[in-house]
Symmetry: C3
Subunit: 158 residues, 3 copies
């Protein structure tokens, strides 16, 4: 049997950090984002109908958590990297929203501006009326190995 999973809540998180290796930097960025010590299952990238935003909660350690996220790692000292996600929320809450991810070399402001526009364009393509776009980003200037993370966590046991 396949359970039908359509989470009812979401929250935004972002973090950045250095680490021994790029994957350590990613792990530290997750901890800094407040969702370390969980098992992220990456998915593409829809806000279920009627889902509402909650303030970030402490997730159960080691649980499998569906998340749409942007991440970037760099080992180029002095380079500024950023990751951002945006949620386009429909006027009609019985319709799904759209999550977009973007990352790259650049500032959080630049990357977040682009990801918001990506969400807007996705709604225009669907001819779906947009209520608003909510976003979050992180930025990091690399010392040795750096990582940025930004994600939308889906959750329904809140």
């Amino acid at each position: 049997m396949m359970p039908l999973i359509r989470p009812k809540h979401f929250f935004r998180v972002a973090g950045h950090d250095e680490g021994f290796m790029p994957l350590n930097a990613f792990d530290h960025a997750l901890l800094q984002a407040g969702i370390g010590d969980t098992n992220l299952v990456r998915m593409s990238s829809i806000l279920p109908p009627h889902a509402t935003e909650i303030t970030p909660i402490t997730l159960p350690a080691g649980a499998l958590i569906p998340v749409a996220y942007a991440a970037v790692e760099s080992s180029t000292p002095g380079e500024t990297i950023a990751a951002a996600v945006a949620v386009a929320i429909p006027k009609d809450h019985s319709l799904p929203g759209l999550i977009m991810e973007h990352h790259g070399v650049g500032t959080a402001e630049e990357i977040e501006k682009t990801v918001r526009l990506m969400g807007q364009k996705g709604f225009e393509h669907r001819k779906r009326e947009l209520l608003e776009i909510r976003s979050i980003s992180s930025e990091h200037t690399v010392i040795k190995n750096g990582a940025c993370f930004a994600g939308i966590v889906l959750w329904d046991n809140a």
Copy 2:
């Protein structure tokens, strides 16, 4: 508790499109394939025993959906890209089948021919008797940012 998830049905989908950014093109390709507005959870790549093919259904918006897929994006104007998946189906339906993915620069015909051969080779390696191979593909010639998608959706509530 971890639910044991072994879907009983599958269907084939494919699509391609342009978009504002490569991820928008991917999002549009999913919509064109008929599985937009869902949360794809990517998996590697087995057809559960006894699973049968159904005609594509409208999936519940925002639900988490297991899918094996090939995808390719390109921002090189004029370039032709393609994505294809194949399902190798065993003669003995109590055995699992094999899903293969392939993508690249090339025509749908070329990419789909290769992915079918990949499925065949996977069965030869297993010394498993092959009933048939079913496949699907999409092809796109890039204008600005293009994407192709082809996938096998697993489903069991049909």
Copy 3:
């Protein structure tokens, strides 16, 4: 409804092989690791609290299986590649452990040494007392298309 999934057991697997195409090599490496013919759902990378190691079991064919893994493919004849995973296990079993993945050109010994250090560094960063690190790796010298796989499978129906 979203089931809260926190598996209670884990086991280590690794394999390597050649194949017709790189994805075939990966598929063969999974078979060689004893977890072929399942649907791996990749996740990042935490050992749930109280999870205990079991000897590898035969997984149900076609089931969706959460796994943290390292994989590497190469089509450069003569090149030696390796993949390794490590689990850092806490002294206090009510706390989560940490799974790290690493892969690259090199020997299994080199790659596994690095991934074990990555696990140790992750615990130092968390100021969490380490009981021990357990790891597994595979190594392959490429003939035509080769792949290495090493993974930590989470499981709770044992």
